[in-house]
């Protein structure tokens, strides 16, 4: 998808002015946070499991080549095929080649952020394929021709009234007087529309939450069961997954699963946890005839061994954005590309470049709530700061910021001069601000006073007053 991350400020402004979006975003706050907190409270070993989960991924990343090769061996042994793809284009081509070879017309899809990352839907539609998203949220945004605004709740930016309007517009064959105002009615209608498509599909595409090296298994977690229908009914199942999804064995996968759903939705486990190993065997009653894994790098191997390796532990639970005050304020689309919120602010510059996505790691108050809730203990603020350092080194930070910072640092590194300057600054500001105690406009602080008053300083600086106090105490002593 075409990035608008460079226009983050404009995107954010539009999002803040969008009343419907603001109404929808209230659900993020109320929906996810309490549920996660309760799930965590119910599991005393939750934080210990986070440590274990982190260690599993660290071990895997340190031996990534080994586990990926083991994984491929096992997939091949089970009758499937792994396609190693370096770039988004390679991955798209691999999928299209399979679709062409099997003469596919209809393709169903389970929810997959990797397919968003490589803009797979657009490419398949351009190739004449009939592509159907089967996750409810993805189905809704496909109708609206929008990207997801959240990595696990793609349509969280919409109100149910908007969804009703979309369904009435797109499902013209259904009676116009039908009731459609309740979520349960919307779900029933989507299910009715999708049922037929599952049966028509030639190819089913899913993502993967885990790739298990020990068994060559791909695992998905869903709540709607659409993933199962997507991968078992068509003739061909294609898994698109990035290479850091691999874990050594099933035991490791289940350890991480114990923190995944709790962190994401506050569930102990998703409604469905589905394991796929190869195509249908002769004795199986159903399942696909072909099983393919499109294994995508797309810049991730460059993150190994560097400042951003920890980001490869991410299991895409969405807890960081669910707890982010900036995400709450502007929603996911403002971030301008596939991955929003704190994890996106770290990952996106890695994938599409910091020149394009430079705003994202800056648009954080560093409140630290993302790191505090991350099940994989990824130091997200620290890595956003790494991006800021690179931007500063490359002179990508705005000139006004650099000049202001330079002047301030020049003074702050010279305590005597600093105390002299701050001394008269404080007195001057205090003199002008004394009558009201504050300013509603200040020439060099418009960003501040546009929205809030600026307090007047008390008068002298602490250092001046402290020096006076020391002096008078010394005098008092010498007089006595």
């Amino acid at each position: 998808m075409q990035s608008t991350s460079h226009a983050f400020k404009d995107n954010a402004r539009a999002a803040l002015a969008n009343q419907t979006l603001q109404k929808a975003m209230k659900h993020v706050k109320s929906g996810f946070i309490d549920k996660r907190a309760k799930a965590r409270a119910r599991l005393p070993e939750f934080d210990a499991l986070r440590d274990e989960a982190r260690d599993i991924k660290n071990h895997t990343l340190a031996n990534l080549d080994f586990y990926l090769e083991r994984y491929e061996e096992k997939v091949t042994a089970s009758g499937g095929e792994v396609h190693w793809t370096a770039t988004a284009e390679d991955a798209v081509k691999a999928v299209l080649d399979i679709c062409r070879r099997v003469d596919a017309k209809v393709v169903t899809k389970g929810k997959s952020m990797i397919s968003e990352e490589i803009a797979l839907n657009q490419a398949m539609e351009d190739a004449g394929l009939d592509v159907v998203e089967t996750d409810l949220g993805e189905y809704i945004i496909q109708l609206r021709k929008e990207p997801p605004s959240h990595i696990i709740a793609p349509a969280v930016h919409l109100t149910k009234e908007q969804v009703e309007a979309d369904f009435r517009h797109h499902h013209q064959e259904l009676p116009s007087e039908r009731q459609l105002s309740e979520p349960v009615q919307l779900v029933a209608e989507a299910r009715q529309m999708l049922r037929r498509r599952f049966l028509e599909a030639d190819v089913g595409i899913t993502g993967a939450n885990f790739l298990v090296a020990e068994t060559g298994t791909s695992i998905i977690v869903t709540n709607e069961g659409n993933g199962d229908l997507t991968q078992t009914l068509p003739r061909v199942h294609i898994v698109v997954a990035s290479l850091e999804k691999v874990v050594p064995n099933l035991e490791d996968a289940t350890t991480i699963l114990r923190v995944l759903a709790r962190s994401a939705t506050g569930q102990e486990f998703s409604s469905y946890t589905t394991l796929s190993t190869g195509p249908r065997r002769p004795e199986d009653l159903d399942g696909p005839e072909e099983y393919h894994v499109i294994l995508l790098d797309n810049g991730r191997s460059n993150m190994l061994g560097g400042d951003f390796q920890d980001m490869l532990r991410c299991i895409r639970c969405g807890a960081c954005m669910n707890h982010c005050p900036v995400y709450h304020a502007v929603g996911g689309h403002a971030y301008g590309w596939v991955y929003p919120g704190p994890m996106g602010s770290v990952l996106t510059p890695n994938l599409i470049g910091v020149d394009e996505a430079g705003h994202l790691p800056n648009a954080s108050t560093f409140c630290g709530r993302c790191e505090a809730v991350c099940p994989m203990r990824i130091p997200l603020p620290k890595m956003m700061r790494h991006w800021r350092e690179r931007e500063f080194e490359r002179h990508l930070s705005p000139p006004a910021v650099r000049i202001g910072l330079g002047l301030w640092a020049f003074l702050a590194r010279r305590p005597k001069l600093y105390h002299f300057v701050t001394g008269w600054q404080a007195r001057l500001l205090a003199r002008f601000g004394r009558a009201r105690g504050r300013f509603d406009a200040l020439p060099l602080a418009r960003g501040w006073t546009k929205h809030r008053d600026f307090p007047a300083p008390e008068g002298k600086t602490f250092q001046q007053l402290w020096a006076e106090r020391q002096e008078s105490q010394a005098k008092g002593k010498s007089a006595s």
Binding site: P325, V326, R434, G447
Partner: protein
């Protein structure tokens, strides 16, 4: 200097120094009540966080070295700010990974540095304060103090020892106020949205006074409350704990004050 009293270097913080020195004096009073001797090195300016969070590592290191030098020899270094204390404790040691000698000095300073209120309770064992304050207060947990240093119960415990104080918790008291240092001027509209939500919660709490432990957050919230015409006084928690609330609240004029 009295025998056996720990020698504390006060890290004033640049905001308290410039904007609200009375917070510094409140800190001194509390530290003295806790049996410490307080000194204020003049060679201090700022902990370097503005440079650090802007990606300017060279200036950050220079300011960290300056601070490390200025506070050599003190038993403890105490700051009336979770953010600045967090910078010294959690981040200084990571700045000198290529310089073992400086790194050791940074780690030494980090181990002696505390946020004011948690120092009073956790290190000095203070359980009560001698203060007269009447009214309903609400307490905002500033992010760095809360998540880097675990400051949450300590200020509430000491406030609870003041007979006239009625603590009423606001909704989302542990959620960011939208200040974020330079963030609030780099992304003013987003910051405004966050501080609007915060001040909604403050006003809904019914408290007459808002307290917190970091002046940056306090200035942000006070400025928004005043812009919205809310009748909530805003003070640093140290002012109330030290019984030093005679001066006008943040952003308020002295009564009958005119130039």
């Amino acid at each position: 200097m009295a025998e056996g009293q720990p020698r504390v270097g006060l890290f004033v913080t640049c905001l308290v120094d410039l904007m609200r020195p009375s917070v510094g004096f409140a800190a001194v009073k509390l530290l003295e009540q806790a049996g410490c001797t307080v000194e204020v090195p003049q060679a201090q300016t700022c902990c370097g966080q503005p440079a650090y969070n802007s990606g300017d590592r060279a200036d950050t290191r220079a300011l960290a070295e300056q601070t490390i030098q200025a506070f050599k020899g003190f038993d403890y270094v105490v700051a009336p700010s979770g953010s600045c204390a967090g910078m010294i404790r959690e981040h200084y040691p990571t700045l000198f990974e290529d310089d073992p000698q400086m790194q050791a000095a940074a780690e030494d300073l980090a181990g002696r540095t505390y946020e004011l209120v948690s120092f009073l309770t956790d290190v000095r064992g203070m359980t009560t304060v001698d203060s007269r304050f009447e009214g309903k207060v609400t307490y905002h947990d500033s992010c760095a103090g809360l998540r880097e240093l675990g400051v949450q119960d300590q200020p509430r415990k000491l406030l609870g020892s003041i007979p006239g104080v009625e603590l009423t918790e606001m909704v989302e008291h542990d959620v960011c106020c939208g200040f974020g240092g330079a963030f609030c001027v780099k992304y003013p509209d987003i910051s405004n949205k966050i501080v609007t939500a915060k001040t909604d919660n403050i006003m809904a709490s019914g408290a007459g006074t808002l307290l917190a432990g970091d002046l940056g957050c306090l200035m942000n919230m006070a400025g928004k409350l005043q812009r919205r015409g809310a009748e909530v006084e805003v003070r640093h928690v140290a002012e109330v704990l030290a019984d030093m609330t005679d001066q006008p609240a943040i952003g308020e004029a002295a009564s009958g004050g005119s130039d």
